[in-house]
Amino acid sequence: MEVGAYVPVALFLFAMVMLVFAPLMTWVERKQSALMQDRIGANRADIFGIRAIGLLHPVADVIKMITKEDTFPTGGNRLLHTLAPIIATIPAVISFAVIPYGGSYEAWGARWDLVVADLDYGVLYIFAVGSLATYGSVLAGWASNNNWGMLGGVRVAAQMISYEVAMGVSVVGVFMIYGTLRLTDMGFAQQETFRLLGFIEHLGWAGPGSWWVDLIKIPMWGIILQPLAFWIFLTALMAENKRAPFDVPEGESEIIAGYFIEYSGMKFGLFYMGEWIEIVVISGLMTAMFLGGWSIPYLPDHVLVDALAYALGPDMANVLAMVVHVVVFFLKVIFMIFFQQLVRWSVPRFRYDQVMNLGWKILLPLSIANIVVTGFVILVVQGMMS
């Protein structure tokens, strides 16, 4: 941990994401599903006649949840019933600490790092914290003293621990290529470009006058270098989140509400907010690791800052670059959120044995094959370069 890094901006963004994105996600869910299903969606909530295309519905939701009666099942375990939503939401919130909104900027004598905790083992931290999220759902199912709750709790435990394996193994290829677990280093590594036709020169097939080898340059984004890992990781994360086609534990048509069944009011609200925040975490993580982080393609950090410094001077150039990078990061995050909602409203729910089959028999062998192929490709490329 370096002393002297100035993190209040990162902390402010972190708080803003928590407070703003989570209720906004309910609006996204309503409006996007409405768009996809060719209807209008919820737009009746208003304050003094101003209906902001349904943006006041999250406010109405929060008021409803806070003022609802807090029911409690007879024979259930009061302490665990209250503790479970808290345990379920905390991992989603603290996962944000390692996701970088931007790089490092020097302005007015301080170095502004746009990440709350630049851990050397950033991705492992997210996995460790994500594995603690299992407890919230399992305890919720058990404390409810309800058959459907128990069934939901058992299913959710099995599903979450199964997909943690595929989740961890699938990104080993990404670690091998970038050589680091630190998300800011991955962000910087994705700003480099490589020549697509470079192998022609390394194999000795190009003469001295071949200018066309340098023509096609591709940024070293994770999705380009590790496409299979991108899809496997995204699937595993969506299964961890119990969202999208993997919401068997909260299967609305099968076991009523699964482990949610005895929850009402703000405790239910906490569970739901936890799921939305986890969607934002997933989007942030995919952006940081696979979609190039905070940077614009073909425009590395220092090039942008130097270009702006001609017009504005070094301090303001850094601040403006910081703003640009944060905006680019959030645009990518919003795209990933849109994509996850797209999947959720398109694909029907999997059957439970299909979920287990996918996790163990399809995703895990593919991830291991990905590691082997990545290792082979790295060896070949290194052999060609030397």
């Binding site: 050397d120 083992y121 492992l124 931290y125 594995s131 299992t134 407890y135 399992v138 128990m150 058992v154």
Partner: protein, 166 residues
């Protein structure tokens, strides 16, 4: 100063929750949750000892998978506390506690005689890169055998736990 506060808080948390594991007679789920708290406190102590990789692995594997397995079995069996069977006799409890107290006091007295200070370490100690480097070069055989052991345990657990379809 920060280090002292962190150490005392988390070591007491670890010891008190370990006591909670032993003393929670009526509810096994409470005992499992106390075990989780104990392991998380130990993970903090590991990170204070510059063992970052081991601390994160402790949370990920121990607190996040092994105790979940315990909770899973406790929930699946769903036994009420009445049919847990009687706990041990009071005489055994008394003698056991006295014995443990005597041994603990002796151990603490023995350990507090040692005086050594921490050596200076570079910032790369205990990072994923450093531990991985040692694991894949000096201890490669142990690593591979650990992999085979995990495979054997996997097969054994499936075979033993499977319901026989007669």
């Amino acid at each position: 100063m920060t280090e002292q506060v962190l150490f005392y808080v988390f070591s007491f948390a670890a010891l008190l929750s370990a006591g909670g594991v032993v003393l929670n007679v009526r509810n096994t789920v409470y005992a499992a949750l106390c075990l989780v708290v104990s392991m998380l406190s130990l993970a903090v102590l590991f990170i204070m000892l510059s063992a970052e990789f081991i601390g994160v692995i402790q949370v990920m594997v121990y607190a996040g998978a092994i105790v979940v397995l315990f909770l899973f079995v406790i929930m699946l069996l769903n036994l009420k506390s009445e049919d847990m069977g009687a706990e041990s006799q009071p005489l055994l409890k008394l003698v056991g506690t006295l014995l443990i107290l005597v041994v603990s006091v002796k151990l603490v007295a023995l350990l507090s005689g040692t005086r050594k200070s921490w050596p200076e370490l570079d910032s790369e100690f205990g990072t994923v890169k450093a531990v991985g480097g040692v694991l894949y070069t000096d201890y490669l055989l142990a690593f591979e055998i650990a992999g085979v052991l995990l495979l054997a345990g996997l097969v054994a657990a499936v075979v033993i736990g499977k319901q026989r379809i007669d």
